[in-house]
Amino acid sequence: MADFEVPPLADDIDTAAPPALAPNAMAHLKTFPAAPAHNEALGFPGQLVENWQERAIEKMGELLEKYRSLRVYLDSCVKCGACADKCHYFLGTGDPKNMPVARQDLLRSVYRYYFTPAGKLLGRLAGARKLTEAVLQEWYTYYHQCSQCRRCSVFCPYGIDTAEISMAAREIMDHIGLGQKYSNEIIGKVHKIGNNLGLPEPALANTLEGLEEDVLDATGVNVKFPLNVKGAEVLLVTPSADFFAEPHVDGLIGYAKVFHQAGVSWTLSSHASEAANFAMFIGSYDQMHKVANRIRQAAIDLGVKRIVFGECGHAWRVAYSFLNTLAGPWDFLDPRYPRPQHILEFTHDLMMRGGIRFDKDANAGMVVTMHDSCNVARASGMGDRPGGQFVIPREVIKACVPKFVDMHPDTIHEKTFCCGGGGGLLTDDLMELRVKGAKPRMDALKQVVERDGVTNMVAICAICKSQFTKVMPKYGFDMGMVTSLHQLVSRAIRLGPGA
């Protein structure tokens, strides 16, 4: 990995100036392209096709017809500049092409050239340009420096969604044989094995048995981690990182304890052993559909009545916003729970009804803050009230710990910053971008660590947890600060009869 400088954190987040412009500062950083086998497994050409310009423009035309929103976003920017200093990657790198407006313009300029009369007639004067090899390389570089977190769209007076533009760009590139290794290899593994990790059923079963032993040793309670149990009431669909990584697995143990204490029968599925749907990151409806239908198939095969999603940010966006279209109708589920639920809705509901109780002393000494995950914050909801996706996690945390504090208001709720690794960028070849892109969140964390003595930062997304574990030490924070929300639940929940 090439050396790079970690940006210094702000002394005062309220008075910090935007970074000095550093043109092309990130032009060198290109994520690894997918090998032909990774592309072909998804039905894309193995490598750049000969008539790629023609095919790319044809695909762009198709997307403009299919997604009216895309054309509106490409037409409606007035260059007001509201988005310019809102992207974490711009704030962390100073590269003007990481300003959302500039990122959009990479595609917009080509759209103008081929699809608008002014662009066809006036060319550069109308901000239009031909799709050349250099432009394609720019697309590849900078559309893989967007985590599709949609923070910029919160500030855009027209609501232009850069994520949708970046998804379209990636879809066009896949279509001509220029895919990204990280995302495409992973989607292929889901089709073949059932999860992002490539964890086969025997390894999953072995891992779950180990967790049962661990929890029994630690608590004396026989908490089960059932796999492929037909007739269970709940199917839990969770990111495969929950089986594999720290602190993710501590969250999984928390879910299991909640189900145990609630007396609800539940199961995991080896067929749908993944909540994530990376097909969203590459903008492919067909691939999203295929991945999502593994969940439908598992639910039908196991005869479950409810589907609950574990802590995964973009999976919850897919589940909340798209699952009915992608894999519905869910008419075979319990009519009281007609749509997939978030594990936090499940835990919160039980907590409010007194079905589970917490002992805050189990988390004594902790001062906890929460990083809102971008997809949960800006693309979903929880419970039946607006803003539930902010309130419900915080209410559960507060019930489990002695002290909770929020970070700066410009960095939480719908204004939350991306962790720096979302949208298919959680890959080692983009480490420089990941470290620099985490800066805005680290600035806000530093403030509450210094002011309030924060000891733990909770995340509810597998990507956020892995990203922070990796990059926080670069900013002088201990990786152990990163905490799964259900890790707090796991420690605080009272187990056993009469608890």
Binding site: E185, T207, F244, E246, D428
Partner: protein, 110 residues
């Protein structure tokens, strides 16, 4: 992209993971570790051998917890934890240890 080990050429990918895991040997491990600027101690070898045994049985690297539990049994509580694993493999036990043990890179949200 390849390692040169005892006159033999061993192919690796962009990040240094072996293309053909069948080409692994202890000499190859030493070579990969050198490329990572990581001198190998007996503790490193314990981890490497456990990873390979587990992979042979399950076709995947063990979860961190499975690994720490196995190490606790072999080396005691003080060394059977994630923190110690990061001391051994500063770039992360899953990825760096897998690379040296000749296993594929764990993918996904890890």
């Amino acid at each position: 992209m390849s390692y040169q080990v005892g006159g033999k050429t061993v192919e690796h990918d962009e990040e240094g993971y072996l293309v053909d895991i069948g080409q692994w040997s202890e000499d190859v491990a030493v070579m990969i570790a050198e490329a990572e600027k990581l001198p190998l101690s007996s503790e490193h070898w314990e981890v490497i051998h456990f990873l390979r045994e587990y992979y042979t049985e399950y076709q995947i690297a063990p979860a961190i917890r499975v690994l720490t539990k196995a190490l606790t049994k072999k080396m005691g509580e003080a060394k059977g934890n994630n923190k110690y694993l990061y001391e051994l493999f500063p770039y992360g036990p899953a990825k760096q240890a897998c690379k040296i043990a000749g296993l594929p890179k764990p993918t996904g949200c890890v």
